[in-house]
């Protein structure tokens, strides 16, 4: 058997057993691109956003520094909003693992068992977790909360931006926020979400490394390549 495999690999005329045959294509291009655009935007938005809160750098070497920081913050914010909207589109019409079809169904016994198996694993009460190709259900809950924060962050961000021109369409669309929560608490919230996202990033990095090891399912490499090893047997 080993010999025949060697033979096929070394004979170019015959189709080789492609490495991709042992992998499954899970995360399509848009999902990966959106992930890395978000990654880039979150870093840029956090740095510039913190600067806007507390301009810690001296102006001596950088004339117009606050103006530039705010400009970058706004451009990155628009890019981030477009990226989140694109992800929403992919969530509605994308491939199975990236879309609403992969949402764990709480009325489905098997889905519930999968959720509790992962939950028990996280709190050290269980070792076995069923093999999954997409998100695990606990991670899915975390991402749902994260995207809720993203929506609120985009809404409050555009609302605060629109205050520069209360006659604008942007303010007409987003200004209702200030009828619910006062100006200052909207700012406070917009600042606080940055820390919540930072807390998530710590969780995210730790969890992907943990599951990359535990399940050998290419948690880390798949967000670059899109492929996950086929362990379905």
């Amino acid at each position: 058997m080993a010999e025949s495999t060697n033979a096929t690999l070394t004979t170019p005329e015959q189709p080789a057993e492609c490495a991709a045959r042992r992998f499954l294509y899970i995360w399509e291009g848009p999902v990966r691109i959106i992930h890395w655009v978000n990654f880039f935007c979150i870093i840029v938005l956090s740095v510039t956003g913190y600067f806007i809160h507390d301009p810690f750098m001296s102006a001596a070497q950088h004339p117009y520094i606050m103006g530039h920081m705010r400009h970058i913050h706004y451009v990155a914010g628009v890019l981030f909003a477009v990226s989140i909207l694109a992800r929403l589109y992919w969530f509605l019409g994308g491939s199975y693992y990236a879309s609403w079809r992969a949402i764990p169904n709480p009325f489905n016994r098997k889905d519930r068992e999968t959720f509790w198996a992962y939950f028990r694993f996280y709190i050290f009460l269980g070792q076995k977790t069923p093999h999954l190709l997409g998100h695990n259900p606990v991670a899915f809950c975390a991402y749902t909360l994260l995207f809720l924060l993203f929506f609120l962050q985009i809404l409050t961000g555009f609302a605060l931006w629109a205050q520069a021109d209360p006659g604008s369409t942007l303010y007409a669309v987003t200004g209702w926020v200030f009828g619910l929560v006062s100006n200052q608490w909207v700012r406070w919230f917009h600042f606080m979400v940055m820390f919540l996202v930072a807390g998530f990033v710590i969780n995210h990095l730790y969890s992907v490394v943990l599951f990359d090891f535990k399940t050998k399912s290419g948690e880390i490499s798949s967000i670059f390549s899109g492929w996950k090893p086929d362990h379905r047997d």
Binding site: H53, D54, P55, M57, S58, A59, H62, P63, Y64, I65, M66, G67, R70, Y122, F124, Q163, A164, P166, G167, G175, W176, F178, G179, S182, N183, Q184, W185, R187, W188, F191, M192, M194, F195, L196, A198, G199, F200, I202, N203, Y206, S207, L210
Partner: protein
Amino acid sequence: MSDFRELLDSHNITRRSFLKYCSSLGALLAVPAAMTPKIAAAIENDNRPPVIWMEFQSCTGDTESLLRANRPSVGELILDHISLDYHETVMAAAGEQAEASKHATMEKYKGQYICIVEGSIPAGADGVYCTIAGQTAVDILRKVGGNAGVIIAVGSCSSYGGLPAAYPNPTGAVGVSDLLPNKTVINLPGCPMNVDNLTGTIVHYLTFGTPPAMDRFGRPKFAYGKRIHDNCERRGHFDAGQYVENWGDYGHRQGWCLYKMGCKGPESFHNCPTLRWNEGLSWPVMAGHGCVGCSEPGFFDTMMPMYQRLPNVPGFGVEASALKIGAAIVGTSAAIFGAHGAVTLARNWKQVREAKEETREEIQQTIDADSDADK
């Protein structure tokens, strides 16, 4: 010749300067210059609706703002000239006489007179915290405000509750529109309101018969349509990154931006930077102190601490700043997942060591086998 012309003559104010004032009011209201004659005619008209000025829980700061001038300006004469039939602080009448005058005005001009309210209305404990002539402020407002043609709430207290409504709000203070939700209430918040905005609002009402265009908080857009920050004369220093770091430091003496000293200009809508105060002399930021956001709903509570950018959160023992809470969130996350990792490693430590040992042995075997083959 109207009695208004006589009033102007008696103060040596020429018609020319009166018209100049009318055109500057037109500019304040952002109406075309061609409206100036109409504005002048509306002011000169002898059939102007009278004004009833009511004061409840307040420091009389808005009345002070009204009376502040050291010389009578055209604007003040206009406010004099509109029949101020009832104003507790400045009217000569007192007691029964004053009440009688108020009732007479209310009867005669029902649904037409202008009702100006200064100060918040204590709604707590059935309104006993403020009573005038045996009636609670709530009842007086419902009666006088309810029959008015238009209500103007002057100052932050009557607009949104203001200082008396600050935590813990012992009197249950509320603004006018909270008690009269179905009436048109023009809010002129500010601590105090700027009297030029009051003149402008009244003249707009006299000229057009309608309140000026208002924002979602009931504030006229001509006066509250732009952020203080966006019209501030120190804005250039903000964009350039030149900030006051301490009171009296180099930047403060140079007139740099007060952003880092907690200036609430970026959060507040008012025309202070363009209209200024005390006959256009100065305004808080020009005088070297940050804006405190007095004309925003939620002032006082949401605009404090005065010298910090963001509010503190009570309930964490001592009040916690936004940055402390944020650091705690990140720290907690790092601690939880760091601990999780440590526990995971510790639980699997034996297997991990065995696996490492096996790997090492396997590699050694491969190397040995290779070197054997080479021989």
